[in-house]
Amino acid sequence: MTADRRRLVIDGAAKAYGNTKALAGLSLVAEGGRITGIAGPNGAGKSTLVKALAGEIGLDSGRISLTGAAGADADGVPASAVVAVVHQETSLFPNLTVAENLAAAHPASGWRLPHTTDADVRTMRQLGILAQQHRRVIDCSLVVRQLTEIARALIAEDADVLLLDEPNSALTEAESAVFFERVTALRDEGRIVLLVTHRLPDLVSYCDQVAIVRDGRVSAELVGGEITEKRIAEELVVDIELGGRAVENDEPIVPPARAPRALVVEGWTHDRGRFSGIGFRAEPGTVTAILGNEGSGARDLLRSLGGFGRATGKCGLEGARIAYSSQFMPAERQVSLFSNLDVRENLVSRLGSPAIASRAGWLRRTALAEVARDLFRRFLVRGATPASSIRSLSGGNQQKVAIAAAAAAAPDVLLLEEPTRGVDVSSKAEIYRLLGDYAASGRVVVVYCSEVTEVFELADRFLVIEKGRMVMEREVSEFASVTELAGAVADAVKVFDEEHTA
């Protein structure tokens, strides 16, 4: 068994986008019969690695090969042909049944209608979805959809390598357990299984080997007993060196019209159950972070504070529960920026009368240009002029424009989702600084983070949301290092999870 065990070998994979090195010589060996977990902070190169493995992008240098595969020469075959990728969003035909989806995956058979073969039935039985074979995918539960996705991938290419990319982030706890039970069965057949996930408990429970990816490389590999939530959390947050670029920024921010007040939230409950009974204070002059994984409800909590998504309970500025002005910046730039507008127009896109228009609605073009120029300078947008196309900017600078646009209206409460997602390190430092400055003008800044490092670098106070509940609320200054903070969060989440599964 050991001699002809299949191995997926990634050797010195490198891929750059402009000046950003997404993969910087990443090497990893994944063996058949094992589940190899891949974890890493956002922007570490995970998604580029997934794309390279799936054959969606080519590498600048390095190679990916598969050895020991039945029928393949020992030297290896291009891996993209045999890697089956299962993403979070399924790419099934929702209007067809499970069996029809599998039949549609068969290689083209000329004029004959695709039909369910014995092999299809075997695969469905193996994955435990045979009973659902005649149901339309749209009527199936998420776990059945994910398993159908796997089945289709196996059938289409008889894949040796199964790459699961955040497969269960939308699944419930019980569904995840079923899902992994089936995946484990596939592993035991000798297939190579790669699991990319943010969920530390899954890495601990199901993986035989965990690779931590940072800055486009594997920074650590954990095997067997080394795989604990605390250890992974620590490896994920080894301090990053923030860019030492001099930041010249003396532009004062307009002080608030009234005395600074804290944002007070009590018994705050989502109408569709994403979170419940949340209570916290976000002090003016500080940055408050809401930390939580995808699906924990943390993201929905932040959005609800801005009025996006309904929730009930108390939420308002301290005192007479004054209604507050807020601006919300979502994580995806497709929904925070306007690709058809130039940089200047994007900067002022949330402003109206009197900043850029008269009360009657006439544009004040000189004022508009001045406001935009001021924001452009104050938010350190680089690599363009205000008249450039927004698409010509780098990710980091686009993000600064999005933040500037949200902050331009000087809201009492500024809400941001993952403010540095897909942003290079030096822009990251500047964005942290800009948000700190904004808070320092006497306003409330609340951010949703999925990374502990970001909490440590950016926030003054943080709360942790797990399964819709607040499990922890602390000052960042209580922790000496990000590692310590990460450990404390992992412990709190673990304790909470154990209480709630018991």
């Binding site: 058809n340 698409r391 686009q398």
Partner: protein
Amino acid sequence: MSSSTSTADTPRRALLRELWNPRIVGLLLAIVVAVVTFAVINHNFLNASNILTLAQSMSSIVIVAMGITFVILTGEIDLSAGSVFGFVPMLTALLWVGGMPLALALPIGLLSGVAIGFLNGLIVTRFDIPSFIVTLGSMNVVYGLTLLISSARSVDPKYAATPVPMDQYDFFRSLAASQVLPNFSSHIWWFLGVTIILWIVRHRTLFGFRLVAIGGSIESARTARLKVRTYVVIVFTLSAGLAGLAGMLAFSFLGSTDPSAGQNLLFPAFAAVIVGGASLNGGVGTIGGTFIGAVLLSVLSNGLSLIGVGSFAQLIFVGGVTIAAVVLDRWTTSRHRPYRFGGFR
């Protein structure tokens, strides 16, 4: 940092920037080529009287296309404009001939157009139905209404069973048919005026600015708390209102109105918008582009008529030109723009 570098590109140059883009320059070149070709084949093409005829014939297309441009800027579509063009004057004509004074019949007609547009916008936004479906439906509803109320007969108020008062008739005809100079009818002033006003709305008001933003990304617009629904209702109202106005002016110019008026207008109006560079995805499109697109199409149809190409063959030609313009645009811009519209890195 010196501020003069950024001052150099204030929005003051919006008009210049709007005109100085490959699309517009290409269109202007195409117009020049067409004009020269037609003039060589038929010397009457450049007669003052033919040029004024050409300008007058553009009027309906331009006014309808301007309204459609605003709808398309938000990423929606309005197929009902042609039917509204026929309905509004017919309603006015029937009320007027039926004994209602013009001072009442005229505004009622125009308001009916506005109401149809408002309803279109309301259905699209409240029930979240694609505007293609809503306006495809209202296109037929409104045309059916026109046929029903008119019994499918055209109306000439001067020769009706009970003719309308002459003073009212003369006033109504003077709206679009009065001659400023020989052959220079006031119909021309109307579309020039509408174009200028809408250019101002598009480039000089907060409304125009936000409209373009909404068309660029409706999601971003919602995040920015722009009143997306209100804006969409307004553009549908504007589009139908303008289509009604255009129909009314055509009625005034011709002296009679036909129930099928406007039925052949939808395609040329859309063609002008598309040839003028607007994107059906929304967020891209200019008033100047639409105007120049309308000029090109009018030059083509006028010139083709003059050199003896029949109206059936013209349909083929205008349809072909529209497709060619879009293909050419895709082909040239895709080389310079590595990212598709709406794509972020």
